[in-house]
Symmetry: C2
Subunit: 275 residues, 2 copies
């Protein structure tokens, strides 16, 4: 039975969810985390809703074996396509990144124009516009699917001429819309933040849903009496955080180390299809 | 029991193998084809050898249910990482694209310098250099992994400013090597042929392994008495060619229609993980 000392489960289609884990670690440093990245089947962004739901159910069954006290869906595509469908399949609280991202963007925009960058799946699901519309139906939303941004981040091209020509193309409709607020609606995109900032200019607010998601996680854990007791001590990262992937742990560790800024020396491989 | 009237099985991690199917259709138009694209788990290029072998075995078990008379591995990553490992798992002849590609490149180069573009997996496997070295150890090989090219093709950006900035970066070490022959070592890359030609110039030979693979398939089928009897008639494409995918048949049909130049109206979805 999970209690406040149990870990939080965080999962993503692959590496991108590490930007969400990073934010949780920053805001609630006492929490233990079990991270799962589905690196054998990544990316999810161009796959169908049915497939995303099937994969998500397998991951939830794996996380169940890790005795997690709550689950963070650190993937916009899964949060968009699968979260509502699978919510009843788990016995612990589960939150995604889309609703928190929509909430902070709706609270931030002054001219009531919001832009959204996301995967093909996230955009096709229409969940960001739906949540924003529920908060304020007067807000105008412009979405743009950006299938090249994840491979660009994983290639390590965060700030070169290719990055900028790709961004100029993808950001054009957002700029044309006059949006004053832009949601980075895929967990890879915060890693392109400075390049996106350069193209969009200083005046546009860039929203990273991870930030608000970590706040919501803390609120939820507090409400359920599940927040890890504050220790004032940092503890060793290798004891507090455990990483699981469905493929190529070494590659994952290299990328995770570059995102999390501490050494990730070990990730365990899981045959996720068997769950 | 498969005979000469049985179909040829052609498979790929997703859509790219259609360029190989296209070449088989062009060169041996009487053959029936069963195509499988693993669109639920694409891409393979950045995944590990173990995972590629596991996925390949599942696909071979599926193709076995289709009573194929021969199998073409229309994926450079699978041909590099898995072909030798799985050859004994099937009872029909099986060929890949790497050996034919290496053979034609070795026969083409005059200055004994060959360049290779491929996925991370294909490059890491070292199979192209190995096969080329077996044919002529004096040939100097320069490889370059190009993880952004597949997403670029699938985004439909075959010829814009992004295509050219990406190609300039990837082709730089090939140009520096002085290679007079360049293998397009991933089945997506022939779709970027004209852009690659523009960057590399007219003097470099671009090798599409699909061409030589179709020749080898014909030779193999003839040798085994399995070549489909020449009819002189074309037959209806929808009767001769069947398409199977693990995800999103509609998306596959759109892309296949653009590659094959005839209407692909139907692809069937297969739960490949169950094989």
């Amino acid at each position: 039975m999970a209690d406040c000392y149990s870990p939080v489960g965080v999962f993503d289609s692959g590496l991108g969810g590490l930007t969400v884990a990073r934010e949780i670690i920053r805001q609630i440093p006492d929490e233990r985390i079990v991270y799962f990245g589905d690196t054998a089947r990544v990316p999810y962004g161009s796959k169908s809703k049915d497939t995303i739901i099937r994969y998500t159910d397998q991951i939830l069954r794996f996380l169940d074996t890790q005795d997690v006290k709550a689950i963070v869906v650190a993937c916009n595509t899964v949060s968009s396509y699968a979260l509502e469908e699978v919510r009843d399949h788990v016995n612990v609280p589960i939150i995604g990144v889309v609703k928190p991202g929509a909430r902070v963007a709706a609270a931030t925009t002054v001219n009531r124009k919001i832009g959204i960058l996301g995967t093909e799946g996230t955009v096709a699901s229409g969940m960001y516009p739906r949540f924003i519309g529920e908060l304020n139906p007067e807000i105008e939303v412009t979405q743009k699917a950006c299938p090249l941004l994840c491979p660009l981040v994983e290639e390590g091209w965060w700030n070169n001429d290719v990055t900028f020509s790709v961004l100029h193309r993808y950001l054009e409709p957002i700029q044309a819309s006059g949006a004053d607020t832009l949601i980075l609606g895929c967990t890879h995109y915060p890693l392109l933040r400075s390049a996106i900032r350069e193209v969009m200019g200083e005046k546009v607010n860039l929203v990273n849903p991870a930030y608000e998601t970590a706040i919501e996680l803390r609120r939820l854990l507090t409400e359920k009496g599940l927040l890890y007791p504050e220790s004032g001590e940092n503890g060793k990262a290798e004891e507090k955080y455990r990483f699981f992937v469905s493929d190529d742990p070494e590659r994952f560790c290299r990328f995770a180390t570059s995102v999390l800024k501490f050494d990730i020396e070990k990730a365990e491989k899981v045959n996720i299809e068997s769950f």
